[in-house]
Amino acid sequence: MVTRLLTSLALASAATLPLAATPAFAQEKTEFSVCWSIYVGWMPWGYLEESGIMDKWADMYGISVDIVQINDYIESINQYTAGAFDGCSMTNMDALSIPSGSGVDTTALIVGDYSNGNDGVILKEGTSLEEIAGQTVNLVELSVSHYLLTRGLETVGLSEQDITVVNTSDADMVAAAATSDVTALVTWNPLLSEILAMDGTTLVFDSADIPGEIIDMMVVNTEVLEANPDFGKALVGAWYEVMSLMAAGDEDALSAMAAASGTDLAGYEAQLASTEMFFTPADAVAFTESGDLPATMEFVATFLFNHGILGEGAPSPEFIGVQFPDGSVYGDENYVKLRFDPTYMQMAADGAL
């Protein structure tokens, strides 16, 4: 009997053991892995891996960096948060709500781009945002689409009380848009342009109206970065090598990224047009150090708090501390979990990598 009890216990613990094994933080190591998902501004990560540019930079620092594509965006963030990866591509909003909200100290290592029209509000009936009042709106709830809509509603004196939000999977957004009972929706590219190509759809608000608020980044675990600066240097160095290829219009690189995102060169370039890529590290540093970032993060934190996403224990939007390059902190200074640190991007700008 006792044996049987022990056997089942041992089996059960063996099954859950991988869950308990978080990476040994704050330790020097030589093998790293980062994850990314398909999005116009993150396609370079796939190219970094397949072109061997990442390996070249990793070898230079005597480490190895594995870049893994995850098909589901949220799952990639959850995997990073759970400790399965040392870094992951995500937006400023999701970085604050998921890893930072879960107590994982996270640093925005590379500020890659901001959405400048890649996210938008579409109406089937009506040509201005005011007309959205009273409609049901299909979107991925609690995503940047939801944030964009809330910011848009504010600009026309409406609030979420004036509409009904229907949580709709991004995978089914295009099919949903084709049905007659969907009259208003919010989504991102390439879905956005696909839906706008349908008859009778009008773009009434997009992220170009709130430039610089939806930021796409590569974030890494702060403790891993502090213990292994070479990891940060290799990632940043490799990233800006590909950025310079893109800025120069390197057809091989751009075609490879286009193919990986399921479109052709023209389609990918169209998506890039509504993305404000920071091709040079100096631009990224300037954006990160600009005075607008704290205001943006306050908007984001307020949105997350109002929707109950900062966590049950969150008494206010200032629950989680967000640190900016000048050392100033929005929120709790004793609980800083998200850091905008341009140190490594500055090294790239100075040619010090």
Binding site: L17, L19, A20, S169, A176
Partner: protein, 297 residues
């Protein structure tokens, strides 16, 4: 003829050998006492809880705010909050609204599937012409994963309740129809011959011979359909919804609120178990004669 020990029947061909020195009960004939049975049944559950608690504890030692494996207390607190407090934004008590909406969808979806299974199952099993016409088609349709044709369902039925209910029905009805048809075919030929010699019409055979024998089989098919039924319910609610158990799970997954997800998972498990037991109880009390052979799980 050797003496019969332990109530075992003599087996042809072995009764001439010398009797074995010991007469141990074979493992298959030894049953645990009632108390031991309860203890054994509880064991895997206890092991799971212990293993979870340990893993959760280890993770939270590392990061007190870890959301992946929340403590049992915070799962309980999340459940209590969702079951008792009104949501600030909607004014509803989240858990009950979600449960009501989900059970309505599940009930309607399975109800429609049940009606199809009853009518088509009997028709296919009983009438050779209909069997020839529909059996291959139903067999083929039952192999289509319903989730793959979802965009067509959306266009045809809209994004509202109808397409969710249709997904559950599509996912469960074909298999139920096939098992009903098979059950009708399995009715002993002698019964059919006998009632026909007694002068029964086709309609009388259906209502007096086939239908009564189908009822317990229908409940059994429904119990089995509950499993895919829940899966399709959750998938449907994940795609486009404003309420429901699946909606909530996929929504809070966006910020890794595993305390909410796990309390919903436990709640769904309890609901599904109760539904299954309810159906079994109904079958046993109303159709006791079909439970005379052996135990049922």
């Amino acid at each position: 003829m050797s003496t019969i020990e332990n109530g075992a029947k003599p087996v042809a061909g072995v009764e001439h050998g010398p009797p074995p020195r010991h007469h141990p009960l074979r493992l298959i004939n030894r049953a645990p006492s009632r108390r031991l049975a309860v203890f054994l049944g509880a064991l895997p559950f206890v092991a799971l809880v212990v293993a979870y608690t340990a893993a959760s504890h280890v993770r939270r030692l590392d990061n007190p705010s870890d959301r992946l494996l929340p403590s049992l207390e915070s799962i309980g607190a999340a459940f209590f909050r969702l079951a008792t407090e009104r949501d600030v934004r909607t004014g509803d008590i989240t858990l009950w609204v979600d449960t009501f909406d989900s059970l309505t969808r599940l009930g309607l979806g399975l109800g429609v599937a049940l009606a199809f299974a009853l009518v088509l199952g009997i028709a296919i099993g009983f009438l050779p012409h209909i069997r020839s016409a529909l059996a291959p088609f139903i067999a083929a349709v039952s192999l289509i994963p319903p989730i793959t044709i979802l965009p067509i369902l959306f266009i045809a039925l809209g994004l509202g309740e109808t397409s969710k209910i249709a997904l559950i029905t599509l996912g469960t009805a074909p298999v139920m129809i096939r098992s009903m048809a098979q059950a009708v075919i399995d009715i002993p030929r002698e019964q059919m011959v006998k009632v026909q010699t007694l002068g029964a019409s086709t309609w009388q055979i259906v209502t007096r011979v086939v239908l009564p024998q189908m009822m317990p089989k229908l409940i059994a098919a429904l119990r089995l359909a509950l499993v895919p039924g829940w899966i399709f319910l959750i998938s449907a609610e994940a795609i486009a919804s404003t309420s429901g158990l699946g909606y909530r799970i996929f929504l809070v997954r966006r910020y890794l609120a595993m305390d909410v997800i796990l309390s919903y998972v436990i709640w769904i498990t309890i609901l599904a178990y109760l539904l299954d037991r309810l159906l079994l109880w109904w079958s046993r009390s109303a159709f006791w004669w079909s439970h005379l052979e052996g135990d049922s799980l």
